[in-house]
């Protein structure tokens, strides 16, 4: 069973990376900014959802403060980049700050279990958001020189690279001893500990990987936008988006968050165009229905359909 699942997972990884490779030719074929912006948002969403999937899907820790790490990555990368640091080190520093903060609070936060971990991290995220909006109330705008040289395609390729990175990272993780340990932890923490899995160390590893990816996604966001309020990157909606996309697709799988992110972004855009005023109402209701009818997301629905056909 396990081996079969692993082979299928490799197939998915290859398919997703192949699709991403094809997307690399898109800016050559299509000159329209709206198309590139749409794909950019999808790619950013894939990275964000996949980063949340590591800690919540594989290690089973529902982190509701994910926006904090996205925000820290954005804040650090933006500040350094505007200050004159080249982009790559600025992005790396953003990921590093997010991870360092995660490890700092992780030891305390992982004393909490289940729902208490969820609401504890939600509160941590809100603490950061409120503090940032108090300390940095002013909008952050790129200097005119940077706006003059702004190229959408550069942002696009960075988003593509990060989405591919997040998929590769999760693919490697899920095949590794580390990933298996995390999944054991998710299924039954006591049993996993009894079998020699170091729970706290694994949870911290999952959180570090997850927040490093989230920090990179934040950096990408900071690189993409010409102006935004610094506290916007800390908004809980980043957490909720990541959570919704991951669950719509299928939590704890490699391809679930990718499919979920694509469907989520597409559906939201489509509904917004079709029903301008009611789209969030329909979207929220639709989401509730998906959770009720397909608790395991698209991935589980597909598996169920396969089993029905095989019968």
């Amino acid at each position: 069973m396990r081996r079969l699942g692993a082979r299928r997972e490799r197939g998915w990884a290859a398919a997703i990376l192949g699709a991403l490779a094809l997307l690399a030719f898109l800016p050559l074929a299509v000159q329209r900014d709206d198309v590139l912006n749409f794909v950019f948002v999808t790619l950013l969403s894939i990275t964000l959802a996949q980063s949340w999937n590591v800690v919540a899907g594989y290690a089973g820790q529902v982190n509701l403060g994910h926006a904090a790490f996205f925000g820290l990555g954005a804040l650090t990368a933006r500040t350094l980049w505007i200050g004159g640091t080249p982009l790559a080190p600025a992005l790396a520093a953003g990921a590093l700050v997010a991870t360092a903060f995660a490890l700092l609070i992780g030891v305390a936060a992982f004393r909490l279990r289940g729902a208490y971990f969820a609401i504890g991290t939600l509160a941590l995220g809100e603490i950061l958001r409120t503090t940032v909006s108090n300390v940095l109330p002013e909008i952050s705008t790129l200097p005119t020189a940077a706006i003059a040289t702004y190229r959408l395609s550069q942002r696009y390729y960075l988003a593509l690279a990060l989405a591919a990175l997040s998929v590769v990272a999760v693919a490697l993780l899920s095949a590794s001893r580390l990933g298996l340990g995390m999944q054991a932890l998710r299924e039954d923490e006591e049993a996993a500990e009894a079998a020699g899995v170091g729970a706290l160390r694994l949870k911290l590893t999952a959180l570090a990987l997850s927040t490093a990816l989230a920090g990179l996604a934040g950096g990408l966001f900071a690189y993409y936008h010409i102006s935004y309020y610094p506290s916007h990157a800390f908004s809980p909606s980043w957490t909720f988006d990541a959570l919704l996309m991951t669950f719509i697709g299928g939590v704890g799988t490699l391809h679930g968050p990718v499919l979920g992110a694509v469907l989520y972004v597409f559906l939201k855009e489509y509904l917004a165009l079709r029903w301008v005023d009611f789209h969030l109402l329909i979207f929220g209701a639709l989401f509730v229905v998906i959770v009720l009818l397909l608790p395991g997301g698209l991935v589980q629905a597909a598996a169920r359909a396969r089993r029905l056909l095989a019968r």
């Binding site: 208490y116 509160a123 503090t131 909006s133 929220g284």
Partner: protein, 289 residues
């Protein structure tokens, strides 16, 4: 000195509403083991219920409570039948995750609905006696807020008595403690879930009414009130409604102190920091069983 005392008093007054907002959430979380993150949106809807009754029918806002409370109870029944009744069939860990998901979806939909119905403007219910102030020893107590605090306490005390003496109240408490044992003892656990959820929603509606009278409402207050309620639930721990009320007062005062010490924008941060500390150091809460 008197400025600080005045701020503490205002903190105490809003703290009563924090307690009431948390009581409903605490009941639902404690009994169903379901975390309804749309609780703040239910409070928001209760507030708009009062806003409509006052502006369209010309009702007195406090009297509107007599309509909002039963309407919210009925809304709670409907929500349970349509959504949360499916969630409680899963085991406890799945319940928390699924309820988070459904809660977020619901919050999104209710927020969008409220923007459609009442626009995104901030609103408050205006009454002829709204500006009345009671002067006591240099302090001025806004009358409507004092009355709101008293009503909040009355509702929580009533809930406390219901849970203690009513037949189904005891069943709800037994279910909260150990639903399998309750089932074996012949308690209809599903019915207890239904009642607890309806009562929780009813209390959210009532809290919304009181918020709209003494303070203001807008479609986006939901998350803020959910967070306040969560903080108070964690401070108090599960299982004690009077403890929840006291913790609400405590949070209100703590916010007032921190606003006085670090400036207004930081009043929220203090509450959240206290919350995280209590969560980590004493996860069962101050009054938890």
């Amino acid at each position: 000195m008197s400025v600080l005392a005045q701020q503490l008093l205002l903190g105490l007054l809003i703290g009563g509403l924090y307690g009431l907002a948390a009581a409903g959430l605490s009941l639902v979380f404690g009994v169903l083991k379901v975390l309804n993150v749309a609780h703040g949106e239910l409070i928001m809807l209760g507030g708009y219920g009062t806003f409509w009754l006052v502006t369209l029918l010309g009702l007195d806002p406090f009297a509107s409570l007599a309509l909002v409370l039963p309407l919210a109870l009925a809304g709670g029944l409907a929500l349970y039948w349509a959504l949360f009744g499916f969630v409680v069939r899963a085991d406890e860990e799945t319940r928390v995750k699924n309820s988070l998901l459904i809660g977020f979806g619901l919050a999104l939909a209710l927020h969008a609905l409220a923007v459609r119905l009442w626009t995104a403007d901030e609103r408050a219910v205006v009454t002829p006696y709204g500006g009345a102030v009671l002067g006591v020893g240099g302090l001025s107590i806004p009358l409507v807020r004092l009355l709101s605090l008293a009503l909040a306490f009355a509702l929580i005390a009533a809930l406390h008595l219901l849970l203690r003496h009513w037949r189904w109240g005891k069943a709800i408490r037994a279910t909260a403690e150990d639903w399998q044992a309750a089932l074996l003892a012949g308690i209809d656990v599903r019915r207890a879930y239904l009642l607890a959820f309806a009562i929780g929603t009813g209390l959210a509606g009532a809290a919304g009414t009181l918020v709209s009278i003494g303070y203001s409402i807008s479609p986006s207050i939901g998350l803020e009130w959910t967070l306040k309620a969560l903080i108070v639930v964690v401070l108090a721990g599960l299982g004690s409604m009077l403890g929840t009320f006291v913790s609400g007062l405590f949070l209100g005062v703590a916010e007032a102190v921190s606003a006085a010490a670090f400036g207004g924008p930081y009043r929220e941060v203090a509450g959240l920091v206290i919350f995280v500390l209590v969560l980590v150091l004493r996860p069962r809460g101050l009054f938890g069983r």
